[in-house]
Symmetry: C2
Amino acid sequence: MTATIENTRTEDLETVLAGAAAAAAPFGALHPATRAGMLSAVANALEGAADELVPIAIEESGLPEARLRGELNRTVVQLRLFVEVLRDGSYLDVIIDEADPDFAIGPRPDLRRMRVPVGPVLVFAASNFPFAFSVAGGDTASALAAGCPVVLKAHPGHPRLSARTGTIVREALTGAGAPAGVFDVIHGVDPGTIALRDERIAAAAFTGSVPAGRALFDIASARPRPIPFYGELGSVNPVFVTPGAVAARGAQLAQEYAASFTLGVGQFCTGPGLLFLPGGHGLEAELTEAAAGASGGRMLTENVHRGYHARRRELLDVPGVRVLADGGEGEGLDATPTLLATDVPTLLEYRETLLTEAFGPLSIVVGYRNTEELVHAADAVEGSLTATVHAEPDEVESMSGLVDRLRECAGRLLFNGWPTGVAVTPAMQHGGPYPATTAPLHTSVGSRAIDRFLRPVTYQNAPRELLPEALRDGNPLGIPRTVNEAGASQHWGE
Amino acid sequence: MTATIENTRTEDLETVLAGAAAAAAPFGALHPATRAGMLSAVANALEGAADELVPIAIEESGLPEARLRGELNRTVVQLRLFVEVLRDGSYLDVIIDEADPDFAIGPRPDLRRMRVPVGPVLVFAASNFPFAFSVAGGDTASALAAGCPVVLKAHPGHPRLSARTGTIVREALTGAGAPAGVFDVIHGVDPGTIALRDERIAAAAFTGSVPAGRALFDIASARPRPIPFYGELGSVNPVFVTPGAVAARGAQLAQEYAASFTLGVGQFCTGPGLLFLPGGHGLEAELTEAAAGASGGRMLTENVHRGYHARRRELLDVPGVRVLADGGEGEGLDATPTLLATDVPTLLEYRETLLTEAFGPLSIVVGYRNTEELVHAADAVEGSLTATVHAEPDEVESMSGLVDRLRECAGRLLFNGWPTGVAVTPAMQHGGPYPATTAPLHTSVGSRAIDRFLRPVTYQNAPRELLPEALRDGNPLGIPRTVNEAGASQHWGE
């Protein structure tokens, strides 16, 4: 699919950046309920445009209609989640310390802390979710909810969808009263990096590959004034299966595993790249059959296809790696699932190659001899979005050492399930230590994704008229607030 | 004062780093109340050692006894603040989403999110607070509270105090049952940067100059696996005074300003570097007298002294900058207050020089013609820890444009007060956009300093036995938790 959208011209990029900068103050100052209404308008507009958008998405991404309709629904629900976040108001994280003449280290002034928008956010859209991690995806929704204008760098895998979605989002926002410049879409690698270096951009978010994400992180960090860069990069998402789980439901696990690692032609951030099975598991036939029977399909872009097949060949060349199901090279942009097998010593010897994400329908079954070897392998796993354990109830307690270790490298720990499929909900954590993300304290999915775009400010002894409503006496916004009364420090540490 | 402590040797550094890595899991797994007891033990030990520590601090820092005793008390109170944070438990930020078969984008599993320690933290101590921003200071207290082992890189300005404080902290921690390796002090620039590059260090904190902090930030960001670097660097802390405030209390403001910018020989992060006064304010005699009458003293280190005088000469050379009070070059490590004056056009023309922190007893009075010019000047101010407005009640509403602008560059907004003196309390924000800090979402003072060292993890469908107590049914820790019931998403966005 060739792009029919040209790169953003320099003068247009300047207009976009100037517009975002100008919109920051008025947009950030809106009452949260007003901004909630704007997000609602975007959600409704996208919902109403499904029949127009989904066909473009099918054409550009090659993904099936049902998946794309579901993904658009997820995108709409995501926006409505942030409507709820804004209505609730706890995202403002208000803390009020009453003036305290008896404070333990001298008189304390009246201190009122809240969170304010960081300023214009640059979002780099992903290829693999043309709706949910793209123009109107979670990064955009959370940044807008926080009160930050968004400059959206479109992914070249779906340029026309990006342009059209961008127009719908922009028109819905301004139609609901948002200031001009609050949202715009730009196209092209160079415009993206120029924007990332621009002083008017206060934070950036990205979902994609390790090389691209790291290059952008390095640019953001090397600026004269560095900015936060929230990159979601690569993740192997290991799955650990106990002997009891194999005995109880081995064949079912083989089926579910194949379905999970081949989902969306293996182009999910949370696809399981490693399946640890006890040696002598006896599932090789089932695994081979399930993988060989799973469907492949067209990959998202030429880059993704080329990168996947290069990784695949690299993995096939590792001594001690066997092929259970060989998807071959495929034609055009196609890829067919490939399943490999190895053991823990080989995994550790070639960890540089084997413990790096293969973005596509490929996974590696790793045989382990005992729990000790399993923990040893877990020690070698780098930062990952997820880690999964399949175990029977009577094995659970013996897993606690492994689970503690996995918690150090992963953002989400799953039990008796599969990592693909990420709920968009308050308790979700979609993040993890590097290389899963460049910002391990944050999530890019769920309510808390808004935290990335908010910065605390404390007002000290402010006159009532200058206080934002969130901080005023009587709590006019009616939001959750923490109020600390005078005198408490006299009892600290008792 | 020459250092009597040698740089940490390579083999000792390895022992320290290995010890911190080994302590991370057991220390992080402790019940919060147990860790609270350990912090209490440190607070009590430091309190009990005041008569031993303060004389060393006086000798090495040149700061007066009353100040150092007050600072040690602040350090003790700071530790007790985190005892309260641990007892309260809301720092764990627990969110529980009940399983929801009717969730808007498909069945939602049981999701339970909490925050866990990031791992071993490297803290670079500051020169200007030998207690409160040093070995047992806020960075150490908040990292230990979070459950992270601390490797403390001592400041060369007070090496013996650092070694002795480090021993007291370590003995108090291990005496209270903390694992060996949970805390240690290292000395020397090279050991510090080697530790910063070490894979076992998961985050770093720093308080100091822009050049040193930026160099360390760059190292942390360029690691194969980058880590969060919480640097507090430089801040000009502008103060804006209205005509009404000059008329009502001009002479008093001149006195208070001189006291604030010369406090601790001007070596406070929050010292006011710029005072904006309306043209024709008529306070020049009072300001000159107050500055000339304020006391100077020995600066903290040779580096600080050399850097201050170089900056001072640079400022004196700017055309359009007048000298109101000339502190001269001083002898030895001494510095005497210098007060300069200029106008907004000069400030903007030479912004590179004039809008950069001068760490020492120097400040600049800037005359402005009208509110428009004042806002224009405020636009040029870079990221700052604080910004202050002095205004009379009838002027307050006309200040809202200026205050909104100041909020974009500062972490704390003060009214009719002075920025020196930072309350250690839940609502404090000690941070701001670059160059005030390298991490504008965070604070290095107050309860929320703990946020820097905690990372979210979500448990999905976890068996009860594998859940941390914080996430278990029935809330055995008795902590604040957010619980989201099933079914709510059906009503989102309505």
